[in-house]
Amino acid sequence: MLLLGFSLNLSNPTFAQDDLLKMLEGEVVREKEVEFVSATFKTTRIIHGQSVEVIAPGNLNFLIQHRFGKINDGFQEFFGLDQATIRLGFEYGIVKNLNIGIGRSSFQKTYDGYLKYKMLQQSSGKQNFPMSVVLYTGMAMQGTKWVEPDRVNYTSSRMLYSFQVLLARKFSNALSIQLMPSMIHRNLVETVEDQNDVFAIGAGGRLKISNRISFNAEYYYQLPGSNADKTYNSVAIGFDIETGGHIFQLHVTNSKGMIEPYFISQTAGDISNGDLYFGFNINRVFTLRKQKQ
């Protein structure tokens, strides 16, 4: 009987170790903390539009964005590759959740600057919040020469403003969806029929197909009546490819411009006509200020 008693308890060390591990896990669960969702998207853009991702404080993202000419311009134009337009941009994490960015597009020689603020982050655990909310405000200035130099031209006429609220939810490791109600304000428009204010609602998302590759798409529905000339809703689809330090984004879209005032309110590409532009972005993050550990 005594021997049986001894053997029951001393013969199985892993059983007692499991008990110990369970006891430990019980202690840890007691103090469940808030868990914030990270990496809803791989980078700060879904394709050309803003995603809810912000650059970490002290880090700098260098963006080289290319948008080529129309693929249906044919072989002579090398399917649009001959007409490359480029945007160079920098975005910097000033403090946690706040980014400032600047850039210049060769298209219409446009200079742009913006602020992006992550107001709320999706979280689970002790504090449950269903989505991330980011506020975006940008302004852009066209640098092209005046069409009518003899007329009184105002610098303020060159200005374009954009405002967005980005709402995104990471549904799973693979799937994230975002909604972006947006507004563009143009100081000067061509005719009386064109509106200075353009309202739109964008929707986009990403689907990870491997740890480092995702399929992204975005669509901006422009409320009708904003422009005298026919403009179309911007559609873009593409892939994000993440290598050690870079994120490459290859895509196809019906928009020629790469900043909000252009692709949201001035998309002239008719998809049924095959007006598609190939583009690719390179994102490179530099750590200027290290995080405290």
Binding site: G5, Q17, V28, S38, N211
Partner: protein, 185 residues
């Protein structure tokens, strides 16, 4: 006759079971790891490691949340979680094992005592046996232990793409420091 055997039997049964006041615990242990390669060095530290030590039999359990590892570069931390460790699938790393021939009476305040530790380490969903040495001192009512060992990244099914194969060492030097205090429960 039966009664005379029953009480000693019960005493021995309960004495050798898990009911014991001699457990030590921490929730603020640290694990740091260091990967050295010609391209870059990777270093991270987790300040919220939990552990329980049963001083009666030397059994020890350690648990660490992968998302608790802090890196100097935010992007490195994101890649660690998203691509390498896949923290959403495998949030915790655990160790369960035994400090061989652990004897609480042999511990001293200023002179570290060295013991062998053996057990199973689980990272990224893969469990492997592991052996190491631990140096233990006491400080007041604390039991402080330190152990340094290497972890082979490949052993735990952590995939490294060819593009960055020169950036990550094959063996990562790992250091664990635990300051355990008597477990009040």
């Amino acid at each position: 006759m039966k009664n005379k055997l029953l009480i000693p039997f019960l005493l021995i049964f309960f004495w050798s079971s898990a009911f014991s006041q001699d457990k030590y615990f921490t929730r603020t242990g640290t694990i740091s790891f260091f990967s050295e390669s010609p391209m870059e060095n990777i270093e991270a530290i987790n300040h919220q490691v939990s552990s329980i030590l049963d001083t009666q039999n030397g059994e020890i359990a350690v648990s660490a949340q992968m998302k608790g590892f802090e890196f100097e570069k935010a992007l490195m931390q994101e890649h660690f979680n998203e691509n390498y460790i896949e923290s959403d699938k495998f949030p915790t790393a655990t160790f369960k094992g035994t400090v061989i021939q652990f004897d609480i009476t042999s511990l001293k305040e200023n002179e570290p005592q060295e013991f062998d530790v053996e057990g199973e380490l689980t990272i990224h969903g893969v469990t492997r046996p592991i052996k190491s040495k631990v140096r233990i001192v006491t400080e007041g009512n604390l039991i402080k232990g330190t152990s340094v060992f290497n972890i082979a990244v490949k052993d735990y099914d952590i995939k490294i793409p060819k593009a960055v194969i020169n950036n990550i060492a094959e063996e990562v030097k790992t250091t664990i420091k635990l300051n355990l205090e008597p477990f009040q429960r």
